[in-house]
């Protein structure tokens, strides 16, 4: 698992009529099914 890095994204969440957009998100690298 790596440290989080911030990347540029085109993001949005809408709940009913409310909508919020976001342009940055933190991601990190890890393995699928790690530890299982």
């Amino acid at each position: 698992m790596s440290e989080e890095t911030e990347v540029k994204v085109e993001g949005q969440i809408s709940v009913g009529n409310k909508q919020v957009k976001f342009e940055r998100q933190k991601i990190r690298k890890r393995k699928l099914r790690e530890g299982k």
């Binding site: 990347v7 994204v9 709940v15 919020v20 976001f22 933190k26 890890r30 393995k31 099914r33």
Partner: protein, 167 residues
């Protein structure tokens, strides 16, 4: 969207009893007191990955107009999760739950809620839905394995409201 359908048993003479015709759909009918939630993130030019490496991002919850990491008291019911690439490469997506943000930081996954693979896109349906637990942190793990820099569109569909009535 898949719909499971169960035939009505005909007994006796007369009209069929359509109240017995049960359908299960991953695209639920939205009732008046429910809200539809759509969570969409487009990633561009992410560095190439080698399986089983994946990127992980927290799924934000919208409370009033603020995005927060921990699930709010009123649960979201997640029912459809997908990752779509812009080329025909192997794509993976996984949905996981952490008990807390501290657990997320230390990487201690509480629950694997589903994983899907596919070429070009990976989709999985949570047929009965997964209700977000108050205070838990949810994340998606996603990857595209063309061996090159890639773009990916990750979406989650959920409902708010009515979950309290389940069981």
């Amino acid at each position: 969207m898949s719909v499971q359908r169960f035939d009505v048993e005909v007994t006796g003479v007369g009209w069929k009893d359509y109240s017995q015709d049960v359908q299960i759909s991953t695209a639920p009918f939205i009732r008046g007191r429910q809200l539809r939630v759509f969570h969409s993130t487009r990633y561009s030019n992410l560095a190439a990955l080698t399986w089983p490496d994946a990127y992980e991002a927290i799924v934000g919850f919208l409370v009033d107009t603020t995005l927060q990491n921990a699930a709010p008291l009123r649960p979201y019911l997640f029912y459809l999760i997908s990752a779509v690439a812009d080329r025909n490469a192997l794509v993976a997506i996984s949905f996981v739950r952490y008990n807390s943000y501290a657990d997320y930081l230390s990487g201690v996954i509480a629950e694997y809620l589903g994983t899907a693979y596919g070429y070009g896109k990976a989709v999985f349906e949570l047929v009965k839905g997964v209700a977000a637990q108050h205070g838990s942190v949810y994340s998606v793990l996603f990857g595209e394995y063309s061996g090159d820099v890639f773009n990916l569109h990750v979406t989650l569909h959920a409902l708010i409201g009515g979950v309290e009535e389940i069981e």
